[in-house]
């Protein structure tokens, strides 16, 4: 460690050039950059929230299509939150975060879609309740 000319554990006032980013974090010292970033995120997120509330209440959208619109707006808004609030980027310094996110999404997808898929099949293969009660007699 002695060949290091700086103390890697010490902070020098503001975000240090020698430090890499964690999610939620980028090497930019001016507050203006951050505020602009959060304002953009707030704007996009508000627009998408309003859009999905609109899709849920309007009669302009064909009934069965409304849930699809809501899902699309929700996924878009989650993306906006990840990029503008959690600062997940595609940069090479963010590879670990993105890989962890990808694995997390895979698990979430398997649990969510798998449960719905299996339980729906079980439901439709289930004996109707009347017949079941009849067999127990």
């Amino acid at each position: 460690m002695s060949h290091l000319e700086f103390d890697p554990h010490g902070y020098t006032g503001s975000l240090d050039h020698r430090e890499d980013h964690a999610p939620g974090d980028a090497p930019e010292e001016s507050a203006g950059h951050w505020v602009r970033n959060y304002l953009l995120g707030l704007g996009f997120a508000t627009a998408l929230t309003i859009a999905s509330f609109w899709a849920a209440t309007t009669h302009l959208i064909w009934g069965p299509a409304a849930p699809v619109a809501i899902v699309v707006f929700a996924i878009a808004q989650m993306g906006v939150h990840l990029v503008f609030f959690l600062h997940i980027t595609t940069g090479p310094d963010n590879t670990n975060n993105v890989l962890a996110l990808a694995f997390g999404l895979l698990v979430v997808f398997l649990i969510f879609a798998g449960s719905i898929w299996i339980m729906n099949h079980l439901n439709s293969n289930m004996m109707p309740m009347q017949q079941m009660i009849g067999m127990q007699r």
Partner: protein, 231 residues
């Protein structure tokens, strides 16, 4: 670029600069390589990166847990046992205010982090306090909703649908409440200890936590409330 004492070899820097697959992929700054990024040849990662990464892993596991509750809700949505369905219990104006409060609190939380980065204690505290206030509004509205539903007989034991509803929404509400306690602790720590590096690390983690909660809420209001109202 030479005023930074690299703990890495000159060859590693040159190799990286000449790698054609990395052209145009700077490290978001004037310099094209970040020492301590933890990418093998650039030396060990800094504590800040390790803390943030570890907390990110925790958040992802938390989201996996939430996905189980979401799956249970999706499966049990129709199992109302003759009781109220999602359509009967949704109060959209209140959900709208809750959503606005949580989104704004995410924004003010981000602003507090911007103030943390320029080491401005006053503004960090102001924005953290605003975040706490908006979080309190959210939790209060949710409690009000639960109490009103319970008064109408829509309690968790009424049907499988309501059990799943209270588990999913209540678990998110619990996360926000505990996050609020953490937020109060962080404000006290910041006031007493100032911007010491472990305090900054905790503030980073708190920011990640709060933003992740907002992402989960996007799923909750879309799937439970909006789809319930649209169905």
């Amino acid at each position: 670029m030479t005023d930074v004492p690299f703990p890495i070899s000159r060859e590693a820097v040159l190799r990286r600069r000449e790698d054609p697959s990395l052209i145009g992929h700077g490290a978001h700054g004037p310099r094209d390589i970040v020492p301590g990024a933890g990418h093998g040849e650039t030396g060990p990662a800094s504590k800040r990166v390790i803390v943030g990464y570890g907390f990110w892993i925790f958040l992802l596991s938390d989201i996996v847990m939430f996905s189980c509750f979401f799956a249970a809700y999706a499966v049990l949505q129709g199992a109302t046992a003759g009781g109220p369905s999602a359509r009967d219990i949704v109060d959209l104006p209140r959900v709208g205010i809750e959503t606005g409060a949580l989104l704004l609190s995410s924004f003010t939380c981000g602003l507090s982090f911007a103030a943390t980065n320029v080491r401005n204690k006053l503004w960090t505290q102001v924005f953290l306090a605003l975040t706490a206030l908006l979080g309190l509004v959210f939790v209060g509205l949710e409690l009000q909703e639960f109490i009103e539903l319970a008064a109408r007989g829509a309690t968790p034991q009424r049907s499988a649908f309501l059990s799943a509803f209270y588990t999913l929404v209540g678990c998110h509400g619990l996360h926000v409440s505990i996050g609020g306690l953490w937020l109060a602790t962080m404000m006290a720590q910041l006031q007493v200890k100032g911007f010491r590096h472990e305090i900054v690390h905790r503030l980073i983690c708190f920011n990640l936590f709060w933003h992740a909660l907002d992402i989960v809420w996007v799923g909750v209001f879309s799937m439970v409330y909006l789809m319930g109202a649209a169905a």
